[in-house]
């Protein structure tokens, strides 16, 4: 069962043990003959240990680096365990000074509402979060009013339903997890509020997953109720392919291809998980710039104050 992975683990371990052996032997070999001719015996231990210490440190550092490089190959993700590795797409909002594409967030919310919301909740997002990001206040109020919300006991102690307000959270498709599992063959459609942060390389992963449905390769059979998706760990996912060309009609007339809907919905999910991104990038850029100027000032000030000491001269006047 010699896999490539096994070879890499073995070679990494061998390099590590070889170099640690070398580190242990090196200070024995080098230190003693070099020093014994120069130093008196009583000093040998003190100076010798300092010299051997530095050699040992260097050798261990070298061993550590080589071992790490050898063992780093172990970090290879096994496709069966982690799913096929997703390609990295050039998102419009990646980059140190790039904002979200807000029109894309709006379209993505439309896709979520029409395609995904029947099974996936987004219970951490409120309607008011959309104001100023994808919709105007009036639009959002109208959207919220379309849903019915159960509200707290009235004066008679009864729960009642009312149309939604801006402060309400997004509606949940199922009452609880058990109802969700029962309606989906035992699989729980995860809440999408933080999904792009909750999965490794989340944005690319979700896009790859949504657009990655294909026929299983020869010899792979997926049981009834599951669907083949190479990006899903294990390869068999309970969700069927939801994004099909023309599934949604965009308000702004953008052609709703599978890739377009995937891009828009992932942008929406990325915003939902990280609504503070634009402010964070602005703040980060500004303060790193300001602090690097402050660093220059601090460096100048330090050298100014130290110039007295750096430029002094000491004269030893020894009288024999």
């Amino acid at each position: 069962m010699f896999t490539g992975l096994g070879h890499k683990i073995r070679s990494g371990y061998e390099k590590l043990s070889f170099l640690s052996r070398l580190a242990r032997q090196s200070h024995h070999a080098k230190a003693l003959p070099a020093l014994s001719s120069q130093i008196m015996e009583q000093d040998r231990d003190r100076l010798g240990s300092a010299y051997t210490n530095s050699v040992r440190c260097f050798a261990l550092f070298g061993a550590g680096v080589s071992g790490l490089l050898g063992c780093a190959t172990i970090a290879y993700s096994d496709e069966a365990e982690h799913g096929l590795a997703v390609p990295n797409y050039p998102w419009p909002h990646e980059g140190i000074l790039s904002s979200y594409d807000h029109a894309s967030i709006r379209r993505g919310h439309q896709v979520y509402q029409q395609v995904c919301a029947s099974c996936h909740s987004m219970s951490l997002i409120s309607f008011r979060d959309l104001v100023g990001v994808a919709y105007t206040e009036e639009e959002t109020k109208a959207m919220a009013a379309e849903i019915e919300v159960v509200d707290g006991p009235n004066d008679e102690g009864e729960m009642f339903t009312r149309p939604g307000k801006l402060s309400d959270r997004f509606p949940q498709p199922y009452e609880n997890e058990q109802a969700a599992r029962f309606a989906n063959g035992g699989a729980y459609p995860p809440d999408l509020s933080l999904i792009t942060k909750a999965r490794h390389n989340g944005q690319n992963y979700v896009f790859g997953l949504l657009t990655g449905y294909r026929d299983p390769p020869a010899g792979v059979s997926i049981r009834e109720g599951l669907h083949y998706n190479p990006y899903f760990p294990g390869g068999a996912i309970a969700m069927p392919k939801m994004l099909n060309d023309g599934a949604v009609e965009y308000e702004d007339g953008t052609p709703a291809t599978e890739a377009q809907m995937g891009k828009d919905v992932v942008t929406f999910l990325a915003w939902a998980a990280e609504p503070e991104m634009e402010e964070r990038k602005l703040m980060g850029f500004k303060w790193i710039f300001v602090l690097s100027l402050a660093l220059l000032q601090a460096g100048y000030y330090r050298r100014l104050k130290w110039s007295i000491f750096k430029s002094r001269k000491l004269v030893l006047d020894v009288v024999n």
């Binding site: 790039s98 904002s99 807000h102 509402q113 990001v133 919709y135 710039f289 300001v290």
Partner: protein, 73 residues
């Protein structure tokens, strides 16, 4: 020593800066506080200009269908 004093009396950029703001601590502190206030305004303005230049068409205000009610689905 002589050449050093001659060079100093002509003044470089740092020398000039020192003479103006770092002779008196009160002047130095005033410079720092006023500089921080004005500098922050300038940096904010500059960064926002770069941000808007880099993100043409992606802002909330640039959404083409903004204001139209969502179609009933």
């Amino acid at each position: 020593m002589d050449s050093a004093t001659r060079r100093r009396s002509q003044g470089g950029l740092f020398e000039g800066l020192y003479r103006v703001i770092m002779r008196r601590n009160s002047v130095y502190v005033t410079f720092v506080i006023a500089g921080a206030f004005l500098g922050e305004r300038a940096v904010d303005y500059g960064v926002h200009r770069i941000w808007e230049y880099n993100n043409v068409g992606k802002r909330y205000e640039d959404i083409p269908v903004l204001g139209q009610r969502q179609s009933e689905e």
